[in-house]
Symmetry: C2
Subunit: 505 residues, 2 copies
């Protein structure tokens, strides 16, 4: 039986974790406000306010009493706690150690250089001068290697960096999976390029009222199951899913009058993230056990709705009427097949965020291989532009004419975020594997989609993924849900079948 | 010469004060978000988030090191600091003592009862049952008397409560001033009532598009000088001026389609508050010295723009064209005099927040006399409805038929805020005294208003009041700005002249 003393200690830990969660939620609202609402003139002060709050969060998370509680629970009688309680304890331990293991000076140097690095990178990208950014990048890699030795001394430095975003994922798992993707997708991309099919997409370009786009996005996100009683949708320069709590989930999108499908898919993507947050484990909303598992699993939820559902023929079938009603000038008379093909156009391009689902993994694998090489020193920063362009040519058959549309395009490295990119493609693969299993678990998924009935789909995701929080490792979750570990074949087969049909391969 | 050590200690204090100010700003944004933006379902968690942040603010403001720094500065060489530095030190001392002098249990009981009290009051008001609220009110008065003994042991308990909102103001000052107002205004109100003039106001009632009202409010608040680069305007159930910083001032209003003048004057009122916040002492925005002086001075700024400016004939002269253009259906053909008279209609009414500038002081004096009596025990809670109604009859010649439109109408007491009401009428008197001085200081104020040129007026307020922060006591500020202390004659003469003309008395 669990002793009263242990129970009491656990209760104290829970109070501290809840406090951290609430202050973290406050930070979430401040961030959202900064991106969506804040008047321009407040920018300077806002960063000071957020720094003050970050300071409080840091003070509280390295509090010695916090560490003592955790160690007492781990060392004496962890087996007396439930699975959920154990998860909270171990999550607290991991966070506490990550916060306390790294020397303060290193933390500060990384924070300062990441902040300055962003400005240096933005200028270098604007002026197309990689050499201006290179020294910062070199220093950041050096610091993140050093950081890795403190945080995860038993891991390879790049694995340690990956672990922050994809807990448990290692290069030894990723490399063979990415090699398999390369082997299958490079020929597919080449075949699509050579296909005689020339997709008509002109009806997707035009002058689409932003008010109508907003209404459309709101309707569809509601249909899918986003709960506006516990969330909002707004506009921001960079779309994101944020907010302050599972009961206060805020998604954003951006609108362009020239193209409505981009912002609509953006809304659906962020809605997928939002449903994950709104679907957290009931009863434990303010504790680590209910937090999202990894970046890859989060991305699997957004890509599930964006790609598996919204880029699906049945979805187009259901919504085409609404699209035509909303924008008759451009869409009247467009057939279902023409519409479906147009929104699934695949074509190699330089910029990752504009890539389609077939070419996107190549952008990721290129970055993964480069990061890996930078960390094991088989690639040097000085050679990066050439390495980048060579790989673009090898994987996608196109060569950037400037570093701004090549190695300088992404913000991640300037903030010291190495090891983040794989999550995007992991998410795509998980989404596909989940969808395949869902088709087996639930009859008539296509019919449900074609009639705008998404409640069973949402429920399946809620029960199998969202509500599971951090109870299982990613590997175990995928195994429990789909009966096997991550298997890239689902994704490969899906792409081959779908694009084979569209491009008549 | 100031020693380096003292300078160093002051610098440490400044860092702590700035941190408190920034975290206070975060609380401001959280509060604004709650009232304006937050999805409904987030309410429960939001109060927990705000409680967590309030806890952090409290911890930091009772920090022993904080107290040690303050005492060192006060005890050794305060004379070495500038006026501004001394103000920061004394403000810190006052806040620190207020936070640390009161026993924790008392603070908690007041906080809990204030929170519960709000619900009990809301229900009692809805059901018109004063007896359901009476025990809570009794307990709150008891607690706030106890609180007064700890916080200001040398003051009468009611004076201590007033001091929180109107530092330095005492019953011994207020009672004679309020008696003078009664002596002059009760006959004026009676005379207006008896006047044969029957003001036509039907053109102010109608169906006014909320979008047009919004645009109108935005135009006029901009004309007056509200800086939208450092602020916002939104809608909320209860209009207020909040935000997170002098560079992030957020005013709100509410709109009714039936009446546009209410929301417009609401915007102008909150703009007045907003200009005070946007106009804080440059270079010291995050320190107590630049904070607003008292509630009364804050209210003087909102009422200055609402009453001295917007209810002025010259203002109507300038804007009537715009009003007619915006709402031609109702306003076409309305003369300047008819419009000016209509917006200045004076008539006794039961509800304070709906009262006009002539009758408003009576609502305040009634509350002041009741609070005073409750604290010196010459009035008992049980008799309140009768006392209230008798005073209403004596001062305004009307008797409420229910407690909901009488003693139960205001939220203040349910939250333990005794001593707040006088600020409203102090603000009205200050506004009038400031305006009289401004007329002497600047030539052609009427012409400036009549041509929509408000920059000199705003500048005068900026330089004489906003930028002075807390350097002077209220008495000294008023003396410095106007050449004399608060003198109710300015207000009395203004009302007698203005309403004597309108009502042909």
């Amino acid at each position: 039986m669990k002793s009263e003393i242990l129970k009491g200690i656990y209760k104290q830990l829970v109070l501290k974790l809840e406090e951290l969660s609430r202050l973290g939620g406050v930070m979430g609202i401040m961030h959202w406000d900064q991106e969506v609402i804040m008047p321009k003139g407040a920018a300077e002060n806002r960063s000071k306010q957020m720094a003050a709050l970050a300071g409080v969060l840091h003070e509280k998370s390295i509090d010695l009493e916090f560490g003592r509680l955790i160690n007492k629970l781990v060392d004496t009688g962890i087996e007396n706690f439930t699975e959920i309680e154990q998860c909270n304890i171990y999550e607290a331990k991991r966070e506490y150690e990550l916060e306390t293991k790294i020397p303060k000076e290193l933390v500060q140097e990384i924070a300062e250089l990441s902040s300055r690095g962003h400005q240096i990178w933005a200028k270098a990208r604007k002026e197309n001068k990689f050499e201006d950014f290179a020294p910062t990048l070199e220093r950041l890699i050096f610091l993140k290697k050093k950081w890795a030795k403190f945080s995860f001394p038993n891991l390879e430095p790049y694995d340690a960096n990956i672990d922050i975003f994809e807990r448990g994922m290692r290069m030894s798992n990723l490399t063979p999976i990415f090699d398999q993707l390369k082997k299958e997708l490079i020929p597919l991309i080449a075949a699509i390029k050579k296909s005689s099919i020339n997709l008509e997409t002109s009806f997707l370009e035009g002058d689409f009222s932003i008010d109508k786009q907003k209404a459309l996005g709101k309707t569809i996100s509601k249909d899918i199951g986003f709960d506006y009683n516990n969330g909002r949708m707004d506009s921001s320069v960079h779309p994101f899913c944020g907010g302050g709590h599972s009961t206060d989930v805020r998604i954003t999108t951006r609108y362009r009058t020239e193209n409505f499908i981009e912002s609509l898919f953006g809304v659906i993507h962020e809605t997928g993230h939002g449903l994950y947050e709104q679907g957290r484990m009931p009863g434990f909303l303010d504790l680590p056990v209910s937090e999202s598992l990894t970046m890859g699993i989060h991305e699997s939820q957004s890509l599930f709705w964006e790609r598996m559902i919204a880029q699906n023929l049945y979805f187009c079938d259901y919504y085409l009427n609404l699209f035509v009603e909303t924008f008759p000038e451009k869409l009247k008379g467009v057939s279902l097949n023409a519409f479906y093909s147009a929104i699934n156009l695949s074509r190699p391009s330089f910029i990752r965020v504009e890539a389609d689902e077939v070419t996107y993994p190549m952008h990721i694998i290129l970055r993964y291989e480069i990061e890996k090489g930078l960390f094991d020193e088989t690639i040097s920063v000085r050679n990066l532009p050439e390495v980048w362009n060579d790989k673009m040519e090898e994987y996608l058959g196109i060569r950037p004419s400037s570093d701004s549309e090549g190695v300088l395009q992404d913000v991640h490295w300037s903030g010291g975020a190495f090891g983040y990119f794989p999550s995007y493609t992991l998410g795509a693969m998980y989404a596909c594997q989940f969808y395949s299993k869902m088709l087996l678990d639930i009859n008539d998924i296509p019919k449900m989609i074609a009639t705008g009935n998404f409640s069973c789909i949402k429920k399946w995701l809620n029960e199998n993924i969202h509500e599971k929080g951090r109870i299982f490792s990613t590997d175990d979750l995928v195994l429990k849900v789909t009966g096997e570990k991550l298997n890239p074949c689902f994704f490969i087969d899906y792409l081959k079948n779908k694009y084979g049909e569209i491009y008549n391969l």
